[in-house]
Symmetry: D2
Subunit: 162 residues, 4 copies
C-alpha cells in the first residue's frame, strides 16, 4: 500500500538560514510521523536539508532529480528517481506529494507552489516574505496555508491528509 | 532558420475581459511583427484569444497542448503540438518562447511565469493585481517587466529580443 | 485549423546513406502535399535530411528538440520547440504526428516506433533490416507498414490520413 | 545513500502466464538481494506481478505511474510516483533503474527497452520471441542480454551492477 509522502520544496543554493532550519525540522517531523519525505533530490539547499532531517530522525527519503543521472543526488536520498526533464520534473514533485510544504520562495519553488495549486493539492508555506504570503494566500483560494514555523506547518499537513 | 516565437500565457476559463482583450491584442501585435504566437493551445481563455488575434492579423500560431490528442485544440492554432504531460508542458511553453508575455494570473499562469524566470527568460506581465505585480517584479530580479497594456508590452518584448 | 503533420524519425549521426536519402525524399514528398514535416529537430542525420528536403520543396518544418535551448537545432527547422526532456520528447514527436515515418532504426528511432504503436498511431517503416521488419510488423498488429522507398511510403501515409 | 534499483518492465493486461511468472520471480530475487524493485506501478500485468513478488519476499517497491493520481496504482507499490505524462514516463522508468529487466514484449515494453539502450543502460530480456530476441540483441550492441529464466537474468543483473 502506498506510503504517505510529504514534499518539502524550497530554494537550492540561494536558501536562507531560516529556510534551511525549517526544511531540516520539517524532515524530522515528517519522519517522526512515519511519512516519506520527498524533495527535488539535489545535494544543496532546502532539498538536502529536509532529506538530512528525515534521515536523522530515522525516516525514509525520496529525491526526484531534474538531472539525467544520479551524480548530483543528495547522499540523504534513499530512493533517487532520475527524470532528465529539468524543471518539468517540478510537476512530478507536487503530484507525488500528498501535501506540499514550501520553505522559502525563489522561482523554482514558486513554480512548484503554483503547479501544486493547479493540481488541487494543499500547500503549506513557511516564508517571511509578507507580500508573497498575501499574494499566494489569495491565489490559493483556500488551498494554501501560511505557517510561522515547522511545528505549525506539520499540524496543517496532518489536518489535510484525508 | 528558427522563427522568433513569443509566448502568450494567461488564465483559461477564468480569464477576465481585461485579460482576453490584452491577449487578443498581443496576438495581433506579435503577428504584425512577423513573429509566431505560442500559447497553451486550448480552445478557451487567453490561449484562444491570443491565437485568434494572431490569425486575424495574418500571423502564424503554435499551440502546445497538455492533452493526449488534438481534440481540445483551438481552431486558431496552425501547428498543434501534443505533449500528453498535463501541466509539465508549461515548461515547454516557456522554453520555446523567446520572450514570455502573461495576460493575467492564475495558478497555471503563475507556474509559467516562475518556470520562465527559472530558465532565465524575460517575462512581460500585464496584470492589475498590484500585490502580485510587486511580488513578482521583486522575485524576477530584473527579468520581469510590468506593462499597463499590450502596446507597451510589445515594446518591452522587442527590446529583449537579442 | 491544425495543419496535417507527418513525422519523420530515424538515426542521428549513425544514419546510413540509404536512410539519409529516404529522409530527404520524404521531406520533399510531404512538402509537396502541403503537410508539415516534423522531426526531432537536431542538426544531424535523418532529422536534418528530412527538414532540408521539406525546405527545398518549399514546405513548412517543425523540430521538437530534446535539448534545453535552440543551439543545436537544424537550420532547416522553421518552428523549434524546446522540451528539455531528452528522450522523453520522443513521445511528443509521435503524438504530434498524424502519421509516423521511420527511415532506418537505431535505439532512439525504435523507441519512437514503439511509442507510436503504443499510442495507436500508424507507422510506415523504410528499412533494409529484414529481421527488424518482420519483428516490428508482427508487433504492430496491423498498424505498422513496410515500404521499400519514399514514394510507396507516401502513398501509405496518404491512405492513413483520415 | 541511493539504494540499488532494478526495473522490471513488461506487458500490462496482455502479459502471458510465462511473463507473469517471470516477473513475480524477478521481484522475489531482486528483493532477496536487498534491491528496490521498480515497475510502471499499475495494478496489472508484469508491473503488479513483479511488485507482488518483491513484497512477498520482504522487499521494497517503487511504482512510477503514467497517470495523474494514485488511483490506479498497484497495492504492492510502497512508493508511488505520479508523473501525469503517460508513456513519456517510460524514460523515467529506465533512467531510474540501475539495470532493466524485460519480461515479455509489447509496444510499451519495447519503448522501454529502446529508451534504456539509448541511455546506455544494460537490459536483460526474458522472451520466447526468437525473432525479437535476435533483432534486439543485435540492436543492443553488447548492452542487451538474453536470459531463459529469472535466475539467469538475476546473475546478469548482478554482473552489471558496478
Amino acid at each position: 500500500v502506498a506510503k504517505t509522502i510529504i514534499g518539502v520544496m524550497g530554494p537550492g543554493n540561494s536558501a536562507s538560514a531560516f529556510d534551511l532550519k525549517n526544511a531540516y525540522d520539517m524532515g524530522r517531523l515528517i519522519a517522526e510521523k512515519g511519512y516519506v519525505t520527498l524533495t527535488g533530490g539535489r545535494a544543496c539547499g532546502v532539498m538536502e536539508a529536509a532529506l538530512k532531517g528525515a534521515k536523522d530522525a530515522g525516516g525514509q527519503t525520496l529525491g526526484i532529480l531534474p538531472s539525467s543521472d544520479k551524480s548530483d543526488a543528495s547522499e540523504y536520498a534513499d530512493i533517487v528517481v532520475v527524470t532528465a526533464m529539468m524543471s518539468a520534473r517540478n510537476n512530478i514533485n507536487v503530484l507525488t506529494s500528498d501535501v506540499v510544504v514550501a520553505c522559502g520562495i525563489e522561482a523554482g519553488t514558486l513554480s512548484e507552489i503554483a503547479l501544486a495549486l493547479k493540481a488541487g493539492k494543499v500547500v503549506v508555506l513557511i516564508s517571511q516574505d509578507e507580500i508573497g504570503n498575501a499574494f499566494l494566500e489569495k491565489l490559493g483560494k483556500g488551498k494554501l496555508y501560511l505557517a510561522r514555523e515547522p511545528r505549525a506547518a506539520m499540524e496543517l499537513v496532518e489536518r489535510h491528509l484525508q
